[in-house]
């Protein structure tokens, strides 16, 4: 028998309201910027109770802040999670997730097609702290399976790889992760909860660089980590940080304290407290200004991208265009299934004429900005092999789907005809 329950508010409504009540002190309807490092403790008993998690509340802005909490709760609502932690950057969100789940001896299996910064952290930096990562081609499910070892503690990938735009098969990977009693973390920066809710698809944890589409304006650096609350840490038995007494917090056993928010408790009480990569109140305020229009911006990003993918595919100077919404893309069917509203606004293409044509092309553009970022209201362009991914050798570049002539575009909110005209001029220039 089919049952129907009450419908939660639509994403559009959540994007505008979730996590925010009119300010209790002033009635302010906008989210106030609580620009304060700390909070007055009314008396010593309440102070002790707040520090000891007997009462919820704010004690110090590294741990929590009312403006930041609005952003966290809004993201939890948009993703359908149990809660969230905002961080100083997307990088900090990835580090917080890993540091909460494992220490020395831990192992991660990750998609090879990653943002260059994430690859840096996993490949170069974490091994120094005893955490190893095996990179696998994102489409090869057997490779994922083979890479999992007894000490593997996390499966990780980007919903849509940046810049190679391959689509992560979240439902299939969630199944593989669950078989091994380890969680799947996805970086959904490129797709945002508006285009697809990773937790509903089976991911256990999701993170974003809030620097990108969530903000949309490119004025801040920020990140966020959301927990779906579905992973059973006790049944897994592989996560002593969550299931055994933590001396750093009165011997608390986080999974005993709360089965569904154990991860977030430890991440806040240890990760934010000790590593300190918290989000600033002003940053949260600015991210929220953007987040309120996520549902208006994403469809426009998607529609303009479709127009430009079509334009590029027909252009004689272009060898190949990569975007999952294009019927020729190997992940097209998967993209349709997971992201029926479109697969975001990052595309890449191969110019005829290789590296030299790429240089001429980028320098001839005038509306597209040449910079290292994605997900801005302004259209952006970069040559990954010489910038974001320059530390990778040819083999790693190839594994990440990047050729010497690959150009990555992030399509903004300008009129698509103006963008096409800019591309058209630069493509012509590239072939001279």
């Amino acid at each position: 028998m089919a049952h129907s329950g009450p419908k939660p508010p639509h994403p559009d409504t959540l994007a505008v309201h979730a996590g925010q009540s009119p300010d209790p002190a002033t009635g302010a309807r906008a989210v106030p910027i609580y620009q304060t490092a700390s909070y007055v403790l009314p008396d010593t008993d309440t102070a002790a109770a707040l520090f000891n998690l007997e009462l919820p509340g704010h004690v110090y802005s590294r741990l929590s802040n009312p403006t930041v909490a609005v952003f966290e709760e809004r993201m939890a609502a948009l993703e359908g999670g149990v809660g969230a932690i905002a961080t100083a950057s997307g990088q900090a969100a990835l580090h917080l997730a890993i540091a909460t789940l494992m220490g020395r001896g831990g192992h991660i299996v990750s998609s090879a097609s990653l943002y260059g910064g994430s690859h840096n952290l996993l490949h170069y930096t974490l091994p120094r702290f005893g955490i190893e990562t095996t990179f696998v081609p994102s489409r090869d499910l057997d490779a994922w399976r083979r890479a999992i070892r007894p000490e593997t503690r996390l499966v990780f990938g980007e919903t849509v790889g940046n810049p190679s735009v391959d689509v992560l098969d979240i439902p299939a990977l969630a199944g593989i992760a669950a078989e091994h009693r380890i969680p799947l973390l996805v970086d959904a920066t490129v797709t945002t909860p508006y285009l697809g809710r990773s937790l509903d698809m089976g991911a256990h944890l999701v993170l974003h660089s809030a620097t990108k589409f969530l903000s949309g304006h490119g004025v801040v650096i920020g990140g966020v980590l959301v927990d779906g609350g579905r992973f059973d840490w006790d049944a897994s038995g592989k996560f002593p940080t969550l299931t055994e007494p933590y001396e750093g917090f009165h011997g608390m056993v986080f999974s005993e304290e709360s089965a569904v928010s154990a991860f977030l408790l430890r991440a806040r009480r240890e990760g934010l407290r000790d590593f300190g990569a918290c989000m600033a109140a002003m940053t949260a305020f600015q991210v929220l200004q953007g987040l309120e229009t996520l549902h208006l911006r994403m469809p426009r990003h998607v529609a303009s991208t479709a127009t430009l993918v079509d334009f590029l595919a027909r252009h004689e100077a272009v060898a190949r265009v990569h975007h999952p919404d294009a019927a020729t893309h190997p992940d097209h069917a998967l993209a349709r299934r997971l992201y029926p509203g479109g697969c975001s606004a990052i595309l890449s293409f191969e110019l005829k004429g290789g590296r030299e044509a790429g240089r001429k092309f980028i320098e001839a553009l005038s509306l597209f900005s040449h910079l290292a970022n994605i997900g801005d209201a302004k259209s952006l362009v970069i040559h990954p092999a010489s910038t974001t991914h320059f530390r990778m050798d040819e083999a790693a570049l190839a594994a990440a789907g990047i050729g010497p002539g690959t150009v990555r575009l992030s399509i903004g909110l300008e009129h698509p005809d103006d963008l096409a005209e800019d591309l058209s001029r630069a493509l012509r220039a590239s072939q001279k």
């Binding site: 925010q20 009540s21 919820p56 704010h58 779906g228 609350g229 089965a259 569904v260």
Partner: protein, 268 residues
């Protein structure tokens, strides 16, 4: 903390402290398909403020193994046995929703075990809608949505949470979704069927607080008020929250419980 209750292992959260039978004891009882973490704040607070705390996981819930008891009366017998297993004469009972019915019935069936009663989000009878019962019977996600949505104030997902960064409705939906198959239905059916002898309420001797949420969509505050009127000397109070008041308004609930316990009888 683990006990043997009625010959079977049982778990109760101690609020971060070892259980000391010399201190006055409080037993917290959670609602349908939930567990001890529904009392996360209050249990921890009282455990650090002069009480020994048992935030119980009813059989088949959270960390207590087995299958759920099939009636409120059977759950009440289990609670009396838990108090005995903890080696205390009697305990203050604080219950929410199903847990409030269980607390009430423990006071009716085992009055010697009960020092005072605090009944949160209660209605007697506690009729559960047919569609809700049917969805729970099939372990349908719709039943999780119903409990998460109606179990909080209207539009709770759009309001600031009392716990920074936590989604109240998201967290309770996941907790219900985690319950073993059949547990939510067994609990709701027990609520629905509970019908104590109306005259027995007049004989209740334990000092009683009935605490209602002004924005409760499951057990409207008027039902709590009506119940309080039938219990001799019971106090009726409200907090600005929905059904899940212990997590929606933890501070206000704590204030009310402190007042209630301070006004209770001298400790044995």
């Amino acid at each position: 903390m683990n006990f043997i209750v009625q010959g079977y292992p049982a778990y109760a959260y101690g609020g971060g402290r070892a259980f000391d039978p010399a201190l006055p004891a409080i037993v917290f009882l959670h609602g349908a398909a939930l567990d001890h973490s529904a009392w996360q704040w209050q249990s921890r607070y009282f455990a650090h403020h002069g009480y020994s705390v048992l935030a119980a996981d009813l059989p088949g819930h959270g960390r207590s193994p087995g299958t759920p008891r099939e009636s409120v009366e059977a759950m009440a017998d289990w609670v009396a046995a838990l108090v005995e297993a903890a080696c205390v004469e009697r305990a203050h009972l604080v219950g929410h929703s199903l847990g409030a019915l269980v607390a009430l019935d423990t006071a009716l069936r085992h009055p010697a075990r009960v020092a005072t009663l605090a009944l949160l989000g209660i209605a007697v009878p506690m009729a559960v809608g047919e569609a809700f019962l049917a969805a729970a019977k099939d372990d349908s996600p719709a039943a999780f949505d119903m409990q998460a949505t109606w179990g909080h104030a209207r539009h709770a997902s759009l309001a600031a949470s009392a716990v920074p960064g936590l989604s109240q409705s998201g967290a309770s939906r996941q907790l219900v979704a985690r319950a073993h198959p059949g547990v939510q239905h067994a609990d709701l059916a027990a609520c629905h069927a509970y019908a104590p002898d109306p005259r027995s309420l007049a004989g209740l001797a334990a000092p009683t607080l009935v605490l209602a949420g002004e924005r409760d969509q499951m057990t409207p505050w008027k039902a709590g008020e009506a119940l309080a009127a039938r219990i001799p000397g019971a106090r009726f109070r409200t907090v600005r929250a929905g059904h899940a008041m212990a997590s929606e308004a933890p501070q206000a609930v704590l204030r009310e419980l402190r007042g209630h316990l301070a006004a209770g009888p001298a400790e044995p």
